[in-house]
Amino acid sequence: MNLRRLPFTREISLGVLVYLYVPVMVLIFYSFNANRTATVWSEASLDWYRKILVNPSIRDATWNSLVLATAAGLGSTLLALAAALGTKNRFRGLAVVEAILNAPLILPEVVVAVATLMLFVAIGIDMGLTAMIPAHIAFCIPFAYLPIRARLEGMNPSLEEAAQDLYANRFVTFRRVTLPLMWPGIMAGFTLAFVTSLDDFLTSFFLSGPGSTTLPVYIFSAIRAGITPEINAISTIMLIVSVALVVTSFLLGKIRR
């Protein structure tokens, strides 16, 4: 490897890592600051964490986010699983089907969100969870579909054939052979869809009604109102949850290999 002969790649990379991590560190650091102004460090305290734990609007928003993410995760994973099974064999029009299923990945979310808002107003659906759940399911479908599809692609078809040779009917083959083999892909798809829905801000921002604020929507309006250590504390908790999820899936991947 003569890569080291290309100068400065190491230095730039370390700089990029600093750029990626310093803002996050600063954010976490100030969440433990006792001072209200959040600029001047006075002393370490957990006051802000205590405050957000008893704040009813934050509790409600967290609950809404979890309900929404669970519904969107389950709904999109089921739809994506069926679609992945249906697209297992190549057929004419497969490219079109996949392009439609993956469209939410490419389309700008702000455009889809306002367009959905117009549709729901036109057909008289009230804003709130009833509007957010279907919209979230729709844009989570590609996030669930891609891992399931990848898993299905890597599967050995002779296993299913062997099961059928041994007189398993279609249903038994699916339940005992196909499904267990696909399980890691299904779990990966669900996790991805769940996290995508949990992190979503724009769609929820346009489609949430009174009483159905999600955590990202709450955080956005709090940021708009001004910088406070409470936002730092919520952000830190969300950060820890995300990092825990990523690191866990990384370690699971290592073990499986």
């Binding site: 003569n2 890569l3 002969r5 290309l6 400065f8 190491r10 730039i12 990379s13 990029v16 890592l17 991590y21 803002p23 996050v24 600029t39 679609a83 099974l85 249906g86 697209t87 064999n89 057929f91 439609i100 939410p104 490419i106 389309l107 700008p108 979310e109 702000v110 455009v111 367009a115 959905t116 117009m118 549709l119 107003v121 279907p134 919209a135 399911i137 729709a138 479908i141 299913e160 083959t173 699916f174 196909t178 992190d199 724009l202 346009f206 955080i219 956005f220 940021i223 708009r224 910088i227 936002i231 952000s235 969300m238 950060l239 995300s242 990092v243 990523v246 690191v247 990384f250 290592k254």
Partner: protein, 295 residues
Amino acid sequence: MSAASPLRRMGLVAPALVIVLALVGVPLAIMAWVSLLERGATIGVTWDSAPSFANYTRLAWEEDFDGTMLLNPTYLIIQLRSVAQAFFTTVLCVLLGLPVALWMSSLSKNQRDIAVLLITIPFWTNLLVRNYAWLIILREDGAVSHFANAVWPFGPVQLLYNDTAILIGLVYSFLPFMILPIYSGFEKFDWRLLEAAYDLGANRRQALTRVVIPLAMPGIIAGSMLVFIPSLGSFVTAAILGGGKSLMMGNLIQLQFGQSRNWPFGAALSVVLLALMMLVLVGLALWRNRQGGKI
């Protein structure tokens, strides 16, 4: 389960397809229609108004009192700014992403995995949180501002609520989308080719321009799509770091559905945004095909 019949296949694929078409396709069609209508008094659109291109004309011109059309740059500036911001974000991401991807591919297997993890963690962090972190760093009474003001001799420096702040936030938001595709291209590369280039008397510059960059090109093009598209359509970064002073198209669209309540104009802006994206996607795809022909 082998050799599914077309009917079974339809039954399996249809539900997901119908949901995406009904909740993404139909709304976009309605939006295209609304962009031709007139604004409404209460809910933002007059459904039975006669279709016209008036909302698109408003993007660049405004009608004077006597009916003459005058060029109105307000919205044009926002559209140009969005394209410029997305462009510079992409360029900066290439400039930073290429060396990082190179460095990553020079590590050992275990170190590589950890490097990939380190690059992906920020990408899994909520977008609002990431932009909020920069709000804290760049704010007026923060340490960085004090330092900048102490060093900069030409009067007070405002770090927040301008185009530079948005650019920093956009690069911060989308950099992993550039690093990872370039890196995955390098991962499969036989680095002995680079050694061969040196053996054949190439200097560093030639090795970079003749071997490394052509090799990274597919990754750079893929990464450019992944960075340019979301930057152009971004809302959060400009909303937080632009502070309502420096708008991007996403923010202008949101305003039409918020305070302004001018849905048809917002719909027209959305159609323009989609068209701009299509243009860039097609351009990049054509460029990739040409590159592919060369290699």
